[in-house]
Symmetry: D2
C-alpha cells in the first residue's frame, strides 16, 4: 500500500489532486487526518508513488507490503509515544503499569485499590463498569455508576483511568470521563465500535482478540488510526489454544514481533493471559523481558471476594512485591540496552 504524507500547510486542492490521480489509476484513496498532518492512503505502490512525487503539497511517500500502512513501522519508523495524562506516556522507552479491579464493585473497593496501586507505583487505574460477560445472567457491571466511581478515584489519587466501552451508543457521554477507552478482546472485530473510537481523540487500548492473528490485530488498529485517532496502545492478553491448563495462552513472542512490524506501543495483560494468580508475577517479568511497554494487572483488596475474575487477581501486598521486582528488572533492561548501544557504537 501507499501512504502519501501531505505538507503541513498544503491546500485542499493539492489533496484533491492526489486523490484524483490515485482514483484514476484504480487504486483508491482515503484521506486520514491523524498524525499531525494529512495523509492519503491508497492501494497503490511504487508506480503510483513515482507519479505523485514532486506534486505540490506532497511532503513524502512511503510504500509498504503490509495491509496496515498507518500502523506500520515501514511507513512510520519512530516509536509512537501515547500521552495519556500530563506526566503519563506509553511507548518510546516509557514503561507503565495499569492496575485495578476487574469490575468496579463499590466506592470503598475502588478507592482502596486506587490508593494501594498508586502507592506501589502504578500510574494508571483500570476498572470495568460495563462488563462483557459470556452469560446474560452474570453480573454485568455497575454501568454509569461504576464510571462515576472511577472518576472519583481519579480525583482522589490523580491516576488517569482506563475502562472498557462495549457499545457505540455509550461513546458520546463516556468520552469526557475516561482517559483511555479499552476495546475488549471479544470486540476486537466489532468494526462499528472500532470506527467509533477512531473518531474520538482519546487513547485506545486495543486488546488482541482471543482468536486474532497478528495481522488481524494490526488491521483492527488500522481501523482506529484511519479514523484519525493516532493514539492506539496494543495489548496482548492471551489467545485460545487447545490447552486449558491456563485460561488463555499468553503469546509473548508477539511482543517483539509486533514492535518490529509497528511503531505502536504494546503492553501485556498477564491476568487474563494466565487466569491464575500465582502465574502473574513470573509472567509480568517475562513480558517486560520480552520488550513490552507496560503491563495491565488485576488488583483487588480482597481477591477472593471479587465479583469477577478473583482467581486471576492479586491482592495489594502481592502487587507491591511484584512492583519491586518490576523496578529491578526495568533497571537491568535499561542498563543492558546501554551496554548493547555502546557495543554497537564501538563496532562501528
Amino acid at each position: 500500500m501507499l501512504v502519501v504524507q501531505m505538507k503541513e500547510r498544503c491546500g485542499s486542492l493539492d489533496v484533491a489532486r492526489v486523490c484524483d490521480l490515485l482514483e484514476q489509476s484504480g487504486r483508491g484513496a482515503r484521506v486520514v487526518g491523524g498524525r499531525k498532518q494529512l495523509q492519503v492512503v491508497s492501494g497503490g505502490n511504487e508506480k503510483e508513488g513515482e507519479m505523485l512525487a514532486g506534486l505540490p503539497g506532497v511532503a513524502g511517500l512511503a510504500v509498504t507490503k503490509h495491509s496496515f500502512p498507518l500502523a506500520s513501522r515501514d511507513v512510520f519508523p519512530d516509536d509512537s509515544v501515547v500521552e495519556v495524562a500530563p506526566k503519563v506516556t506509553i511507548g518510546g522507552g516509557n514503561r507503565v503499569v495499569m492496575a485495578g479491579p476487574c469490575s468496579v464493585e463499590s466506592r470503598s473497593q475502588i478507592l482502596a485499590t486506587a490508593r494501594g496501586v498508586k502507592a506501589a507505583g502504578a500510574s494508571i487505574l483500570r476498572g470495568g463498569a460495563f462488563k462483557p460477560r459470556t452469560n446474560p445472567y452474570s453480573f454485568q457491571g455497575l454501568g454509569n455508576e461504576g464510571i462515576a466511581l472511577m472518576v472519583e478515584a481519579r480525583e482522589a489519587t490523580g491516576l488517569p483511568i482506563v475502562t472498557e466501552i462495549m457499545s457505540t451508543e455509550d461513546m458520546e457521554w463516556l468520552e469526557p470521563h475516561v482517559d483511555i477507552f479499552q476495546i475488549g478482546s471479544r470486540n476486537m472485530m466489532n468494526f462499528s465500535l472500532l470506527k467509533a473510537v477512531g473518531r474520538t481523540r482519546k487513547p485506545v487500548l486495543l486488546k488482541r482478540g482471543l482468536m486474532a492473528t497478528v495481522d488481524e490485530w494490526l488491521q483492527a488498529a488500522e481501523y482506529v488510526l484511519s479514523g484519525g485517532n493516532s493514539k492506539v496502545i496494543l495489548c496482548e492478553r492471551g489467545i485460545r489454544s487447545f490447552d486449558k491448563s491456563t485460561r488463555n495462552t499468553l503469546d509473548l513472542s508477539v511482543v517483539p514481533l509486533v514492535k518490529s512490524l509497528s511503531h505502536l506501543p504494546v503492553i501485556v495483560d498477564p491476568s487474563h493471559g494466565t487466569g491464575r494468580r500465582e502465574l502473574i508475577r513470573p509472567m509480568s517479568l517475562a513480558a517486560l523481558a520480552a520488550g513490552a511497554d507496560g503491563l495491565i494487572i488485576e488488583v483487588h483488596p480482597e481477591p477472593d471476594k471479587a465479583l469477577s475474575d478473583g482467581a486471576q487477581t492479586l491482592d495489594l501486598e502481592a502487587f507491591d512485591d511484584l512492583m519491586h521486582s518490576v523496578a529491578s528488572l526495568v533497571e537491568m533492561l535499561e542498563l543492558d540496552e546501554e551496554r548493547r548501544k555502546c557495543g554497537l557504537s564501538i563496532a562501528m
Copy 2:
C-alpha cells in the same frame, strides 16, 4: 438453573411474588417474555423449585444444569420451529436452503441470483449490505442501497431475505425491511448487539464465533432469548484451527450435539466453513446427513468476478446440481427416519 413457567393469564402480583422469593434466597430472578407466556429465570435449583411449586400463577418448573436455560432442551423438549415467512419455516423437520451472494453488488447481480436460486429450490435469499471486513480499506458493502436492492429482489421473487446487522444503531431502520437478522461470526460475542436483536421480534440467524465453544454459542443464543425474542436459528460456519488447508474447520459434529442440547434449529454454512468452491457440494450433503435443519450457501452468477468471497461461491449451474443431490438425500433421510421409527415401535 431454574425456569419458572407462569400461567398464561397470571397476575403481575404472582410474578412479583415468585421473583421476590427467588431474590430473597439469593438466586436472582429475571422475567422473560419470549415463548408465549412469561418465564422467570433464576440461578436456583430443585430446592428453590420446591419452594415455588403450587404458588398462584405458576404453571410449571424446570431445572437444568446448563447455563442457557431458555435454549436448553432440558427445559423445552420440543423442537423450536421458526417461522420466517408465511410458508417458510425452519426446524422440526423443515429443512431450508438459503442462498445468494456474499455481498449485494448491483441490481442486476442480486436479481439474477434471486431468480436463479429460487428456480433451483432455495427458499430464502441471503445477501450482505453491511460487510464486516478485516481491512478498513476493503469494500465495506453497499449499505442502505444494498438493503433497498435486497428488498427489490424479495418483491421480484417472493423470497424472504436474510442480511447481516453490524451495529445497534442500524436496528431501528433495518427492522421493517429484513426477514432475518444475521449476526456474523465476529459479532457472536458483541453483547450489546445480541441484546438489541433480543428486543426485536424478527428471527435471528446466529453464526457461531470462529473461536467459540458450543457452550459460549448457546449462551450467546440465551442473550437473544432472554431479551424476549424466541426466534433464534443457529448456524455452524467453521471454526479456526491450526490447519489452513481449508479457510475454516467446519465442525459438523456440533450439529447433532447442539440439537441434543437445545431445541433451536441448526443450519450449516459450507461456503465459509471450507472457503473452497469444490468442497461446498460434498460438505452440504454431509451437513444434512449429520442432521442439519438447513444450509446457507454463497451463490453468484459469476463467482470469479465477485467483489468478495468468490473462491467459496457457486455459480447458478453448480447450485442447481447441488439442489438435485440435496433433494435425493433429504428423501433418503426421511425414509430412514421412518424405518427407524417403525423399528422402534416394533421393538416396543
Copy 3:
C-alpha cells in the same frame, strides 16, 4: 518435484543414468519400487524433465508442485484401490466398514464382536492389542495374546483384521499375522515406524495426527510409499481444537480435499472423532456423504464394561441400526453419481 516412471523391463543401467543426470543437476534422485514399476523421485521440475525425456528406459515423466509426489493425484490420476483380502478392497468406489472393539479384552469378547459386526455387514475386524495410552499405569493391551485372539476371530469369521503397531521391533513377528497395520494418530510423525511399514507389503491404515496438517499427513503417507509400499489407506479421526465439547474435532472437509489432492483412499473414524456414542451414527452418515471410502467404528458387546473408550463405542444393536442407514445412504449416493454422470454426458 519430478517423478520419472521407468519402463517395466528397463535395465539397471537405464535407472542409473537417470539418477546420475538428476544428481549432477543438484536435484537428488531416489529409486522407489512400489507401484508395479520402478520410479525415480527427484526435487527437479520441468527443466530436468526435458533433459530426461526420450532416454532409454524412461516410460513417462510427471511434475508436481506437491511435496508428496507418490501420493499426489497430479502424478497418479487414478484412484488407488487397496486389496486387503480376496474380496475386500478399499477405494475406487469400494466403500468398506471396519468395526470392532478399542482393545481386545478376552476370547469371548472378540469372538462375539466379530460375529456381530460381520452379521451386520462389516467387512474388516478392528481390535487393539498394543495400546498407546497417555498414562503409563493404564491398561496397555493384551499384547501378543491379543494378536492371537484376533487371528482366532479371523479364522472364525473370515474377516480380515486391522491392528495397531507401536514399535519397529514388533514388525517382523506381527507381519504374518495381520491384514492391515494401523499407524495411530500419536505415531503419525514417528518416522522410524513409517519407514518400517514402508518396507512391508501389507496395507497400512495411516491415521491423521491429532495436530497434523493435511500436507504433513500426505507427507507421512509419502514416507510409506517411498519405502516401496503402495498400499496406504488414510484415516481422518479428528483433530485437536480449542473446543472440548467433543473429544476431537472431526474434520470432514479434508475428505473431499484429500481425495482431490491424492489418489489414496480415505476413511473416517467417527468414534475417536467425536468421543461420544450418540454422535457416531450422524457422523458416520456425514462422512460417507462427504465422500469417504469407508468407516472404522468401535463396537463392543457391552460398551459400558469396556476397558477403554466405552463412551465412544456402539453396542451390536446400534451398529446394526447404523448399517441399515449406511446401506440406504450408499445406494442414494451411487444413484446420484449416476445422475450426475448422465447430466455431464448430456451436457457434452
Copy 4:
C-alpha cells in the same frame, strides 16, 4: 494415586507384601527403582495408604490427585537436580544454556560452533545427527557419522553433548556416546521410545509435543520415571496454534505452572518456539524471567548456509551478545530472590 516409599534396606518380601495388599484391593501396584530407593506406585488413595502405614519396610506414603505421581511435587517436594557431567547440573537454581547447530553438517562446522558457544558461556553442546523431517526426501542428518563428530567436539571442548534419538533400535549403541538423550516434540507420545529411555540411566531431555497439554507432557515424563530413570529435563518448545506469524506459539506460562506441579527442571527452546532469529534474544530473556532453568538455542557459524532451520539460528556473535544479557538477567533474578526471601523472613 499413591506412592509408597520403601526403606533403603527393605527386604524383597516387604515389597511383595505391599504389592499384594494393593493388588488385592484392586488398585494395582508397580515397583519403581528410580529415585535412590524403591517405590511402589498404585492407583490407591488415603484409604489404601492407611492400610500400609507402619508395615515393615515402608518408609513413607504420599497421595496425589495427579496422574503423574513420580513427577509430582506433591510427592517429591524438592527440586530435582539433574547431573549431566561432573560440573554441569540443571535445576535447583542451576541455570544452563545448551547451544549448537540444528544438524551436525561437517567436522569444521561442529568444532567451530562448539568452541564458539563454549567461549560465550554455554555449558552443553546440542546437535542433531538423526533428524525427524516432515518430508522423506529432505536431509535426514549424518546419522552415525554425526554422532562421531559430536563426540569429537566434546573431546575438543569438554562440553557434554545432547542429541536426539528417534528409534529404540539406536538405544544400545548410542547410550555410551551421548550425555543427554533428546526426545523430540513429534515423539513425545512415542510410548515405545519413552519406555526405552526409561531403562537407561542417561538424562533425558523431553520436549513438549507440539500438540500436548501440560498433563500429557507430565505423563510422558512419568513413562520415563516409572521405567527407573529419574533424570528427566522438560523442555517447552512452542505449541501449535491458529496463528502462523511465528513458527510455533511459545507457551511460557507453562514454565512457572509446571514448576509448581513438578519437581523436574524446565528449560525453554526459543529457536523452535519462535522460528525467527530476531525473536530469540527477547524470548530467551523472557523465558528466564518466567523462571526457566535454562535454554537450548540453535547456533551456527553461518546460519544462512545451514542445511536446516537457518531462519531460527543465531550466529556466534549474536549468541555472545545474548549471553551477556543472560548473565545480567540471571544476576538480577538471583538478587530479587534474595530480596523476597529477606522480605518473607522479616514478615515472619
